[in-house]
């Protein structure tokens, strides 16, 4: 049908037909893929989302007397940068956080400030050598003072990504944003029809060396992205470009509340419409783009799938989870994705941007394997105390005290007639009730109980105990019945066992 060289020739002559992916969906719907392939030369895409695996290589040039920062320490506006390269090279990653301001300011913000031309404070330490005698440096730099500033992101532009919700009775703060309790909301990331890799899921036109829109300038696909997993439709790409030419409108440092810092990266890929097949995939509408809604309430690598959703549903702003309709937040900006696709379209129409043929295809058979762990993390059910004694809410405090003393427990779950948890009392609650005149367990119990699930890893319970300053939690099975208690004592024993 068509070749990239032929399309470039049309671009040079100002005759190429360039449309955005949103427009392509309509064209394919109206005329079919075959006609669309004849008519359209290039489809432009765009995405603007937080991409944690991003950062920049910087070269400071040499001080006088010179210092070797490699092997030492480097801070940019108090944010630690990598000091494992040559004397004055570094890599500042988006998730590195300020030693003084914490999550409010991180590597992503440093990159944005550099692109804005702002002064950035450089502090560094070296150990001193015969050729690099200096041991400390403190100066301010701007992007213009750097020899090179190269944006390099090892993983961007996920082909698709799961949507998130939360089954727990507490709010969760995750990389998928704030997730309200009891399926209170849903979040998702990704530009849907405008998402670059999803327009060419077989990577027929996208590969190493493909010229792209990156941060407001021209950049390139450098390699397959980390965790590239084409078999599951989870392809990713590594991208590279000249930070000095980029625009802070398309590179924004950000803070994901109580999670960390990151960098919003604007990225767009042109898809040359070589034949009918590419036209068809480039024109797939959002009702055909599916992803899984996962329950982030389960702190495991394999989170349970709540249901399958389409991007059309997610985009509508409300989706049904269980019996209720809940609001949806995109985390990546569709308006910015659209702006990027339009900008790329204009560049190509004006002949300022030519397409490039990939020099290497992206691998189609790569799999994303889990981390090899030499010591598996124990689950709650393996560690919890099973001889759990419970009482009803009408039980007297004196009886509860007797049970705790006799069994040597500190926690007594309170359950209703169906063995459902309604509260908990501890020896501390009993101690402080003395002299208050209260007689029933229901009068002194804590009703909002922090709980654990049997199949949860103990690490997440340890975090929960620490967050709530408590010493134990009742463990519930999937029916909500109390099957055990996990205490800080159980966790202490575990540390002993691990050694």
């Amino acid at each position: 049908m068509k070749t990239v060289a032929e399309i470039n020739e049309k671009i040079r002559r100002g005759e190429a037909v360039v449309v955005t992916a949103e427009e392509m969906v309509e064209i394919v719907k109206e005329k079919g893929a075959a006609a669309a392939a004849r008519e359209v030369d290039v489809v432009t895409t765009g995405t603007f989302g937080a991409m944690c695996s991003s950062g920049a290589f910087l070269n400071f040039g040499h001080a006088d007397p010179p210092i070797k920062l490699g092997g030492g320490e480097i801070y940019l506006n108090d944010v630690p940068a990598y000091a494992g390269l040559a004397a004055v090279d570094t890599y500042i990653g988006s998730t590195s956080i300020s030693r003084t301001r914490g999550m409010e300011y991180g590597g992503g913000h440093v990159i944005e400030d550099l692109v804005r031309g702002k002064e950035v404070e450089l502090r560094g330490r070296g150990y001193g050598t015969d050729c690099y005698p200096r041991k400390e440096i403190e100066t301010t730099i701007t992007i213009h003072d750097l020899n090179q500033a190269i944006l390099y992101c090892p993983r961007t532009a996920y082909q698709r990504y799961n949507a998130a919700t939360n089954s727990r009775d507490e709010t969760l703060y995750t990389y998928m944003g704030t997730l309200l309790p009891e399926y209170g909301n849903v979040t998702f990331s990704g530009a849907g029809v405008l998402g670059p890799l999803g327009r060419d899921p077989g990577y027929r036109t996208i590969g190493v060396g493909t010229r792209i829109f990156l941060g407001g300038a021209q950049g390139y696909i450098a390699w397959e992205g980390t965790q590239h997993y084409p078999g599951k439709g989870l392809g990713t790409i590594a991208v590279v470009g000249d930070l000095k030419r980029m625009d802070a409108r398309y590179l924004r440092g950000c803070t994901i509340h109580r999670y960390g810092t990151s960098l919003y990266v604007g990225l767009g890929i042109p898809i040359p419409i070589l034949d009918e097949e590419v036209a068809r995939t480039a024109g797939t509408d959002e009702t055909q783009l599916r992803t899984n809604l996962l329950d982030y309430g389960v702190p495991r690598r394999e989170r349970p799938v709540v249901r399958e959703v389409t991007y059309a549903e997610l985009r509508s702003g409300r989706i049904v989870v269980g019996k209720k309709e809940v609001p949806v937040s995109p985390l990546s900006s569709f308006r910015m994705a659209r702006e990027i696709a339009w900008t790329l379209k204009r560049w190509i129409e004006k002949g300022e941007f030519l397409l490039s043929e990939p020099v290497e295809r992206l691998p189609a058979d790569r799999v994303f394997r889990p981390m090899k762990q030499v010591a598996p993390v124990p689950l709650v059910r393996e560690v919890m105390t099973r001889q759990v004694v419970t009482v009803g809410p009408e039980c007297s405090i004196a009886e509860a005290a007797r049970i705790l003393a006799e069994k040597g427990f500190d926690h007594l779950p309170v359950v209703d007639e169906h063995r459902r948890l309604v509260g908990i009392i501890t020896s501390w609650d009993i101690a402080t009730s003395v002299g208050t005149g209260k007689t029933r367990v229901s009068e002194i119990m804590t009703r909002k109980v922090v709980t654990a699930r049997e199949d949860e890893p103990v690490d997440s319970v340890a975090r929960s105990l620490e967050l709530h300053s408590i010493s134990g939690v009742p463990v519930l099975n999937e029916r909500g019945e109390v099957t055990g208690v996990l205490t800080s004592d159980d966790l202490s024993k575990l540390v002993g066992r691990r050694r």
Binding site: T178, V186, H257, Y264, P327, S329, L331, S333
Partner: protein, 132 residues
Amino acid sequence: MRRKVLLRCSRERGGPLLAELVKETGLLPHLLRADLTARGSELLISLEEEEVETLRTSSFLKEKGVELREIKRTLQLDRESCTDCGACISLCPTGALRLGEDYSLQLEEERCVFCGLCVPACPVRALKMGEF
């Protein structure tokens, strides 16, 4: 244009304040939010502009020992900074924040009840809450 008004009275006072207000002044406020704080009970209500004056000049406030504050400042959206990502919209309990037809963020100030959930959730700190 409806105005937001905060009514505050001491904790000890008790009683069905809103019902009394409706009965005695004949006004029909929208209840936006009710809190019991260390400073006392607080009711955030909205009224038409002229109704606020009616309430302010009525004897009701004095008799019941209720303090009235008109809310002037509100949730502020920095358009320059906002990327229209939408992280805030599913957290907004009243739909004051939503994406418009062109997928840009719309803030309908009248519906905001100052819960503040959206402020820290904004990745680029484009939302700020004015004190009241």
